[in-house]
């Protein structure tokens, strides 16, 4: 369903215990994310971007308030339920790629499907398709140590997208990449967002990423200070090279 609400936060507060009072990482954050959004949390370091992303991703729980992800209250989930939610519905992309070092690109992408107990033939089809999406099908047998930073991040994207989750959370996905690779990665993600209607939420302060966002949420000291829908949406055909656009279409 278009415009379906996937994520909703209500008076979300996160306080990290430190000293007598603790550090307030999120302070009454109220946000709604809908299906197919390509949104970004921007702001300086310590503004609460990653904390919010972690709570949405059920990796962390709020101190108070509520985060409802795909109809489930994160704060009420057990470890097992949170793991199941991540496994089925949420893909993660990290700044440092976090690929499993001893696994090939294929095996890294395959891993979430193994946890989902997808049959082998279906697994193979989906892994190869995901690697095609990120244009790494020919490097399927390479290990992370044999891949460049950009290629590693593309494998990480394939790993996040392979289970076709409803939400992909990307924490500073371009921070370790040069400009060219950053654009490549962003184009791939924007393409997947268009094609699969997967909701992408970024935590970033990288201008290159911000240029691609269709919604920009600015955080400062744990509060939402600005939530803007970008008027100028980038058109796929304008941004992608001809060859890439063809693949994604």
């Amino acid at each position: 369903m278009e415009n379906e609400i996937l994520i909703e936060t209500r008076d979300l507060v996160k306080i990290y215990p430190m000293g007598r009072h603790g550090i307030i990482a999120l302070n009454k954050v109220n946000l709604v994310f809908r299906k197919g959004e390509f949104a970004g949390l921007v702001g300086p370091s310590g503004s609460g971007k990653t904390t919010l992303l972690n709570i949405i991703g059920s990796l962390d729980s709020p101190t108070s308030g509520s985060a409802i992800v795909l109809g489930k209250k994160v704060e009420e989930l057990s470890h097992k339920e949170a793991a199941r939610l991540r496994n089925k519905n949420i893909g993660f992309i990290f700044q440092t790629f976090n690929l499993l070092p001893h696994y090939t690109a294929y095996e890294n992408v395959e891993f979430p499907l193994l946890l989902l107990k997808i049959p082998a033939s279906e697994r193979k089809r989906r892994v190869m398709q995901a690697l095609e999406w990120v244009r790494l099908a020919d490097r399927f047998n390479s290990r992370p140590s044999q891949l460049s930073g950009g290629e590693c991040q593309r494998v990480a994207i394939a790993r996040a997208i392979v289970k076709e989750p409803a939400i992909i959370l990307a924490d500073e996905p371009t921070a370790n990449l040069d400009a060219e690779n950053s654009h490549n990665i962003l184009q791939i993600m924007a393409g997947l967002n268009q094609q699969l209607r997967t909701t992408f939420i970024f935590a970033t302060h990288d201008d290159k990423v911000i240029r691609y966002l269709r919604r920009k949420i600015t955080l400062f000291d744990g509060r939402v200070v600005k939530d803007e829908i970008r008027e100028q949406e980038r058109k796929m055909d304008d941004t992608l090279p001809v060859k890439e656009a063809r693949i994604l279409k």
Partner: protein
């Protein structure tokens, strides 16, 4: 579960030299334990077999006063062979042995001995009693000398060889001392010390005649296929299990001693695995966070790391099989040469001991090591249960 084994094996092999060092140390433990346990089993089996064949038969009846550990009882430890046992002896299903204290005077010294009378024609024991037959020793009998056989240890201790004559003194049933020369007609080589050291074997009839103990015996040894001939007044039945109990206890004592070596070896291997696990969790904390982010529960991550540690023992079993099996088969076939000092072990040991390995021993050892390895692997992984995914992803351990 298959997935965990697959992932664990992949991670383990990827760890390279660290894994193989642990695996090799653990494989030593496998081979050493199986080899030495097999050796003790071989010793035990050989000792039991040799003693059964040469001395114990299928069990024994002892005169009620007989106590093999108290020589002072020997003077009274004999009596007429009772009817049911005499019947068995007649049928060739048992043989009587009379034991009397005596003194041997080799080369001017005196040497306390047990004089044992055995029927030269008996077939119950694999004992060279035929050398005592009268027909073989007519000349000696005519000259009044006693044909005797002794063991090689006794011969060595007393400096005797075949054909040597030496004075033997004993007391008859009335307590009177008597003495005669005996001539060594045979020196037997046996691994069973209890029929060798400090013993002189002569014909049963002759000993009865010399001591005036006609028709009497101290011990009646049954044939292997005759276990129990019923209760006999004045005699107590000793089963083979009872008679072999001492050997079992000696072997058990030796095994416990050897266990200290296994314990040290196994502890080293376990320490290495424990250390590897602790290091692994520390070094791979970001990976743990990633696994959680990808949807693994803490329990699943703990399971993965535990299986990974436990897989050391699986690999070790494979490696141990590669070099251990040929080694174990070699020793099982060729045996292991025993030094002379093993006589001091106190039970029958041959010059070569052939280790005996059973499926139970091998499987038991493998299972015990695998269980211990799994436990040792599990202990450090408990730390993962306290790990927050967000902290782990940052490479921190809380």
């Amino acid at each position: 579960m298959k997935l965990y084994f697959k992932l664990a094996l992949r991670n383990l092999l990827a760890a390279g030299l660290r894994t193989w060092l642990n695996v090799i140390v653990l494989s030593f433990a496998f081979v050493a334990i199986i080899w030495s346990q097999g050796l003790y089993r071989g010793m035990s089996r050989h000792a039991a077999q040799a003693m059964t064949e040469v001395e114990l038969g299928g069990g024994q009846y002892w005169h009620e006063n007989f106590d093999p550990y108290n020589p002072l009882t020997l003077q009274e430890a004999h009596g007429p062979v009772p009817e049911p046992l005499a019947q068995l002896i007649q049928e060739g299903k048992a043989t009587a042995i009379l034991i009397v204290q005596g003194t041997l005077y080799p080369q001017g010294r005196f040497f306390p001995v047990l004089i044992k009378g055995i029927d030269p024609r008996q077939k119950i024991l694999l004992f060279p009693s035929r050398y005592l037959e009268l027909s073989r020793n007519l000349e000696l009998s005519q000259s009044g000398e006693i044909p005797a056989l002794i063991g090689s240890r006794m011969a060595s201790t007393c400096g005797l060889k075949i054909g040597d004559t030496v004075t033997l003194r004993w007391r008859d049933k009335r307590g009177a001392f008597d003495a005669r020369n005996l001539t060594i007609v045979h020196i037997m080589k046996t691994s069973v010390q209890s029929v060798d050291q400090g013993q002189v074997w002569i014909s049963l009839d002759l000993l009865r005649e010399l001591t005036g103990l006609e028709g009497e015996a101290t011990v009646i040894t049954l044939a292997k296929d005759v276990n129990f001939a019923g209760a006999v007044p004045g005699w107590s039945y000793k089963s083979l299990d009872f008679l072999l109990r001492d050997i079992d206890e000696v072997i058990r004592g030796k095994t416990i001693g050897a266990s200290i070596i296994y314990f040290v070896l196994l502890s080293l291997a376990m320490l290495a695995i424990f250390d590897t696990q602790v290091l692994s969790i520390w070094r791979r904390r970001k990976e743990v966070g990633t696994l959680m982010a990808l949807g693994m529960t803490r329990a699943q991550v703990i399971k993965l790391f535990t299986i990974e540690g436990a897989m050391h023992s699986v690999l070790a079993a494979v490696v141990a099989a590669l070099y251990g099996l040929p080694l174990l088969v070699f020793f099982a076939r060729k045996g292991l040469g025993m030094p002379k000092a093993v006589d001091s072990y106190g039970f029958a040991l041959d010059e070569r001991i052939f280790p005996t390995y059973s499926i139970g021993l091998i499987m038991g050892t493998v299972i015990i090591i695998m269980v211990i390895t799994t436990m040792v692997s599990f202990l450090p992984t408990r730390r993962i249960a306290k790990l927050k995914p967000t902290e782990a992803l940052r490479g921190r351990i809380t």
